[in-house]
């Protein structure tokens, strides 16, 4: 009888891919050793990391999603999860199926990687565990050529501040992909009478403290992911995920906490936070954290239409500037030297008419004291804009500020006559800050600049349609979100951006 190691080599599987919920040995029994409690798919299904020939599927078994130990009510044993991918929603034409092992090490999340599919095509998928079948997900492979690509961008989903009308509308529109630009969870304690503004819900005391341990981060993902509209948005399209600070702690950078946790301790917090992020996102195995580090910046090609660069502007950033000389220092970086080189190389080598660059925080110049965003890293920003200027037209996608903002990316923001190298589309929050208002006291900081074309302080998302000649963008907001998820969408602004001589033309 071959050893386990030999067996895995014979079947072409790495031990890691089995133990990490990607695959299973071919002899693995598809039937769980013990029945799994009902409702195993309470956290929904998702897909992500799309490629021309496949994508990553995701689910996490959690029959009791809010079990305080973060294990979702699952037994502490390995459980086989079957998956299948079909060309039709009735699964008459199943084109791929497989088995992945859900293990307690990953909170019973699975991340099967599907390959060998056709480009630019809609697919449907579902999971099965024992006799339970998951909801059906719809996803798409990236195109081989790409004459049109639709995408939604969203960020900042403070579950406790309101309902996810934005996700409901994204699900209704079924774009080709969704970009989520960070603050998927928030680490704060959730307390009735304080920050719990989502009408009609209560939470137990275990949610009332700032999260710190892996079980607490897992529980927080479970709480947010229990939202049916978020699940619907995941189930409708592949997601490109970027993180920002609240996946770990407010305004952290690298190993630095702003709340008095020394770096040699804080890396332990970062390790569990990154781990829970991976467990709860449709990410490929190369984003699995190693200790306190995780490689999440990565690149995709949408045929020859656009190159997508997903940034990590948290893990490698320099600390907040100590003074103005530090802020404007040539050495300062928000990306880290390695990621900077990677981005500039990727831009330089791209032959696509468009480059989509997605990050957590706003790139455009606003005020010098906004040191949390790229205003705190002007030298790095100049290098990025120069690299953008040498490539196809750039579309910068960011969030973080809980406001809709549209900006033209100037090669030099200090010089209004300098070339426009692309546009920045800043999406407002899905939930954070509650209902909001159309404008507020910060508007003047943004609208003082001629390159800023929109400012709106209600909740919402952005929907874009990209062709080889132009990008049309809709900024969608909602009149309220705290009372329920039924608010009707309102298009607050529409812009056209030609690929040649880019700008924001109001429509």
């Amino acid at each position: 009888m071959p050893s386990r190691r030999t067996f895995l080599q014979l079947t072409g599987l790495s031990a890691a891919s089995v133990t990490l919920g990607i695959a299973a040995p071919t002899t693995a029994d598809a039937t769980p050793a013990r029945p799994i409690p009902d409702g195993a798919f309470a956290l929904g299904v998702a897909s992500g990391d799309p490629r021309p020939d496949g994508f990553v599927l995701w689910t996490r078994l959690a029959p009791t999603p809010l079990a305080v130990d973060g294990h979702g009510g699952m037994p502490a044993s390995q459980v086989p999860v079957q998956w299948e991918v079909a060309e039709d929603s009735r699964f008459r034409h199943v084109v791929r199926r497989g088995l992945a092992i859900a293990s307690p090490d990953l909170a019973h999340a699975v991340h099967p990687e599907v390959r060998g599919l056709r480009p630019g095509r809609e697919y449907f998928y579902r999971f099965r565990v024992g006799t339970q079948v998951s909801p059906i997900g719809r996803t798409k492979t990236l195109p081989a050529y790409g004459d049109q690509f639709t995408f939604a961008t969203a960020s900042c989903q403070a579950w406790y501040h309101g309902y996810f009308a934005a996700h409901r509308d994204i699900a209704r529109r079924a774009p080709d992909a969704v970009f989520f630009l960070g603050d998927y969870i928030y680490e704060y304690g959730i307390v009735a009478g304080d920050n719990l503004w989502r009408a009609g819900v209560t939470v137990g005391p275990e949610h009332g403290v700032e999260i710190e341990t892996l079980e607490q981060y897992r529980l927080r993902y479970s709480l947010f992911k229990s939202d049916p509209d978020l699940q619907a948005a995941h189930a409708v399209a592949p997601w490109f995920l970027v993180w920002d600070d609240h996946e770990v702690q407010n305004n952290y950078g690298a190993a630095n906490s702003l709340y008095g946790v020394p770096p040699e301790l804080f890396v332990h917090r970062r390790a569990v936070a990154y781990r829970a992020y991976y467990e709860n996102a449709p990410l490929a195995l190369d984003s699995l954290p190693q200790g306190p580090s995780s490689r999440v910046y990565r690149r995709y090609d949408i045929g020859s239409l656009a190159r997508v660069h997903l940034l990590d502007t948290r893990q490698y950033r320099d600390p907040l500037p100590v003074d103005e000389a530090d802020r404007v220092s040539e050495q300062r970086t928000i990306m880290g030297a390695e990621q900077e080189a990677w981005l500039y190389d990727g831009l330089r080598r791209s032959r696509a008419p468009w480059n989509i660059v997605a990050g957590g925080v706003v790139l455009s110049a606003v005020t010098d004291d906004r040191t949390e965003q790229w205003d705190g890293y002007p030298a790095n920003r100049r290098r990025v804009l120069e690299a953008m200027g040498g490539a196809g037209t750039s579309v910068m996608l960011t969030g973080d500020i809980h406001r809709h903002v549209a900006s033209e990316l100037k090669l030099d923001f200090a010089d209004p006559a300098s070339r426009t190298v692309g546009v920045e589309l800043v999406c407002s929050s899905v939930g954070s800050n509650g209902d909001g208002t159309d404008t507020d006291a910060y508007a003047k900081d943004w609208l003082q600049h001629p390159y800023m074309k929109l400012y709106n302080a209600r909740r919402g998302y952005v929907h874009s349609t990209m062709t080889r000649s132009e990008l049309t963008t809709e900024f969608v907001n909602f009149p309220y979100i705290q009372a329920d998820a039924d608010a009707q969408p309102n298009v607050v602004a529409r812009f056209r951006t030609p690929v040649v001589d880019p700008r924001l033309e109001a429509l």
């Binding site: 130990d69 973060g70 294990h71 502490a76 293990s103 307690p104 090490d105 990953l106 909170a107 710190e212 341990t213 892996l214 079980e215 008095g260 946790v261 301790l265 332990h268 917090r269 390790a271 569990v272 781990r275 190693q290 200790g291 306190p292």
Partner: protein, 268 residues
């Protein structure tokens, strides 16, 4: 089930009402969910850090046996680590003899002037700072519940002084102890104050950051109180003192306010 490794190097240090524990974490090869911390066999908390502060202890030193269990990402639990015996410190308010005090050491600042939220009146009530003479002055009139710092705009964005005068019949035969208890302090700018005894600069007292709530709430003892009390106890060499009137000065030339519980000088 694979048991994760137990931590090593557990050690601790006692303070007033607290014990601080540190240890060597397990290697990154183990994906840790958290460390479960035990005192005398009872779970006292969970942390992801190789560091834990056991709070809420008494004012009299008690030795406890601490140990730590590693809980990994799968929920597996290690064996108990090797234990460490650590005692919290006995407060001088318990072990010493009070010589001169202002306020009571009870977790509340309500007996002090302007408490619980009269800070806006501080500049008019104490324009030259606080000057308190033990035996003559009264806490409710003469000892402000807050000592502001230069970071406080409401107090004029300037340094502030609190002077505490008391009599000694003779130079003490042994060193004395200063107890300075706070019900709370600013959450990030508690910073420090310069302590002067009879004109001699003794050194800086560095305060623990609190919760920035003690400027409006006087009681740190009720269940769920948001205040973060802290305790400073400092030995003062007998050579600093003299027969007759002695003068202690706190000069807050850094950071923001502290909120007193009580202050006192104790003999041994």
């Amino acid at each position: 089930m694979r048991r994760p490794p137990a931590i090593t190097g557990l050690h601790g240090a006692g303070g007033i009402r607290i014990v601080t524990l540190d240890w060597k974490p397990v290697s990154w090869a183990t994906v840790v969910d958290h460390y479960a911390v035990y005192a005398d066999g009872a779970l006292i908390g969970k942390t992801v850090y190789p560091h834990f502060v056991h709070r809420g202890l008494g004012f009299t030193g008690v030795t406890r046996s601490y140990s730590v269990v590693t809980v990994d990402a799968a929920g597996n639990r290690s064996a108990q680590s090797s234990p460490a015996a650590v005692a919290n410190l006995t407060s001088v308010t318990i072990s010493g003899t009070p010589i001169a005090t202002v306020g009571t050491f009870d977790g509340k600042g309500s007996e002090l002037a302007l408490s619980p939220k009269g800070y806006a009146e501080y500049p008019t009530r104490f324009p030259a700072g606080v000057d308190y003479t033990y035996g003559t002055s009264t806490p409710a009139a003469d000892w402000s519940y807050l000592l502001p710092g230069p970071a406080d705009k409401w107090a004029g964005t300037k340094n502030h002084r609190a002077t505490f005068r008391f009599d000694l019949p003779a130079v003490p035969e042994q060193d004395l102890d200063l107890a300075l208890w706070l019900i709370d302090s600013h959450a990030s700018l508690a910073a420090s104050a310069l302590l002067t005894v009879n004109g001699t600069e003794f050194g800086r007292l560095t305060f623990a950051n609190g919760a920035t709530k003690g400027s409006t709430i006087a009681d740190s003892t009720y269940p769920g109180s948001p205040l973060k009390p802290s305790y400073l106890e400092v030995p003062l060499p007998k050579a600093l003192f003299r027969a007759g009137q002695n003068v202690l000065e706190l000069f807050k030339d850094q950071g923001s306010w502290i909120a007193y519980d009580a202050l006192g000088v104790f003999g041994r």
